[in-house]
């Protein structure tokens, strides 16, 4: 009788311990899930900040900027930059696109340029990406009546960052 009673008490204690361990495991998992989702949000937020600051500075770089003009993108340079694998990770963003503000959005290649609207400069093939848009002036060298001049249009610079 006493043996059975003690066995029962050990069983009770084991169940109690199992419940306590289960409780702590669940609480720990909940805490980890909460802090992990916080971390993910923070990482996405940092990516967004980075994309925004890069978008604001790209027009000042030698790869994108016009000669002697601030806040302007030289599309002659940008089309030459398109598809250069060396630059894939250089700005640490998901993608960079330059688009003319027109009704059509035909993708540019070296052959079709300048009769096109969208230049996909860099694309890292990230699936979950969000764009930071910025209005810029897009300029290129153009020939008209034997004279070369800077032809400028309004466009958008799109810098994509990855949502984690």
């Amino acid at each position: 009788m006493v043996g059975k009673k003690s066995q029962l008490r050990i069983k009770q204690m084991s169940f109690m311990l199992l419940a306590a361990v289960l409780f702590f495991v669940l609480a720990g998992m909940f805490f980890l899930m909460f802090s992990y989702s916080n971390l993910k949000n923070k990482a996405t937020d940092l990516n967004k900040q980075q994309a925004l600051t890069i978008a604001l500075r790209l027009a000042g770089s030698s790869e994108f900027g016009c000669v002697d003009q601030a806040y302007c993108i030289d599309t002659d340079k940008v089309i030459a930059l398109k598809g250069r694998s060396a630059y894939l990770d250089f700005w640490d963003v998901s993608a960079i696109e330059v688009i003319k503000l027109e009704n059509r959005s035909r993708e540019c290649t070296l052959a079709s340029y300048p009769d096109c609207e969208l230049i996909k400069v860099i694309d890292n093939n990230d699936t979950n990406k969000i764009a930071v848009p910025l209005y810029v002036s897009l300029c290129r060298k153009a020939l008209e009546y034997g004279n070369v001049y800077d032809k400028c249009e309004l466009g958008q610079l799109l810098v994509y960052y990855k949502r984690i």
Binding site: A86, K141, L143
Partner: protein
């Protein structure tokens, strides 16, 4: 409750068994709780350090110059922090990594956080910067086109002794804008605070700057070398600041990274000139760009910078050819 009535008593044996069982399991639970709590603290400390390094890398972005000649800022950190700056030469652009460790209770530094890689910035600092406040300033490096921004990051005190006029003006200008409060400009070494690193021009100090002879230079210290810790770092133009404020390893690595950028930009400009030529806009500097690109990518030591400068800004250099061209590339 423990019963000591006798080892032969069944009740006493039963009680002591449950007591021992509870003690062992309790100890295991307490041990696990302490273990998980301490590893959680370590992880969050590491997470915090990683966040600081990432935030610094983002905060540095506005330091990139466009039309302005220089920019300055300071970063106040929540607690005393060590910033680890490492530089790697890799194809195509090399990279710099930043990691930080924050001071915890007892003045000890916690574990280093995750390393954040940066590919498009050139930050000149010591391998380890330590402090609660970081002072930064940046200057664009044009050689002959803009290669990037030289970003100087310091935390220690510096004292410039009798610098040439253009450098003194530049530092005072940055200080007037509220930046680089850790730099002093004095007329003699005696006036420098004892805890500061002295920087002298053409005389021996903690850091000494010596000019090289130059015919077509705008200022007398436009090219030369910086003597520091028994080694020479050659500089051209504003790389002077990089050589003064950074370790030789970081400086040499960043110079090579800048030359990798020069190489890639030269190739890009050759392709751009082909695109412009389709509209009748000719540059005629493709051959010079190819020579410059080859010299840039084959830079072995900072002394080669003097040759690069000659190709870029010498009498028949790239800069003058581009300026005389109908269609400028930069």
């Amino acid at each position: 409750m423990v019963n000591f009535r006798g080892i032969r008593s069944k009740k006493a044996l039963e009680m002591s068994f449950s007591f021992i069982f509870a003690m062992i399991v309790g100890a295991v639970i307490i041990f696990l709780a302490i273990y998980f709590a301490s590893s959680l603290i370590k992880t969050s400390e590491r997470q915090h350090s990683s966040e600081i390094a990432k935030e610094i890398s983002i905060l540095i972005n506005p330091l990139q110059t466009s039309i302005e000649s220089s920019k300055e800022m300071s970063i106040e950190l929540p607690q005393k922090t060590k910033i680890y700056d490492s530089c790697y030469i890799e194809t195509p652009f090399g990279r710099q990594t930043f990691a930080s460790a924050v001071e915890s209770l007892g003045g000890k530094y916690g574990k280093k956080g995750a390393e954040i890689s940066i590919y498009n910035k050139y930050i000149f600092s010591n391998s380890i910067e330590e402090g609660k406040k970081l002072y930064l300033f940046s200057k664009g490096l044009n050689l002959p086109f803009k290669l990037g921004d030289i970003i100087i990051m310091t935390s220690g005190k510096y004292c410039f002794v009798a610098p040439p006029e253009n450098i003194a003006e530049e530092i005072l200008d940055i200080k007037n804008k509220g930046g680089m409060k850790n730099i002093e400009v004095n007329n003699s070494l005696e006036e420098c605070p004892t805890d500061s690193t002295s920087v002298c021009f053409d005389s021996a100090c903690d850091i000494s700057v010596y000019k090289a002879s130059c015919i077509d230079c705008e200022n007398e210290y436009d090219i030369g070398y910086v003597y520091k810790n028994n080694s020479r770092s050659y500089y051209v133009k504003d790389l002077l600041y990089g050589a003064i404020f950074s370790d030789k390893e970081v400086y040499d690595c960043n110079v090579k990274r800048l030359m990798q950028r020069a190489y890639q930009l030269s190739l890009l400009f050759v392709d751009t000139s082909d695109v412009m030529a389709r509209e009748g806009c000719f540059t005629n500097i493709d051959a010079d760009l190819a020579i410059f690109a080859s010299a840039a990518i084959h830079l072995n030591d900072s002394v080669d910078l003097l040759n690069i400068r000659e190709l870029a800004e010498g009498r028949d250099g790239l800069q003058s050819k581009n300026s005389n061209s109908l269609c400028k590339l930069w």
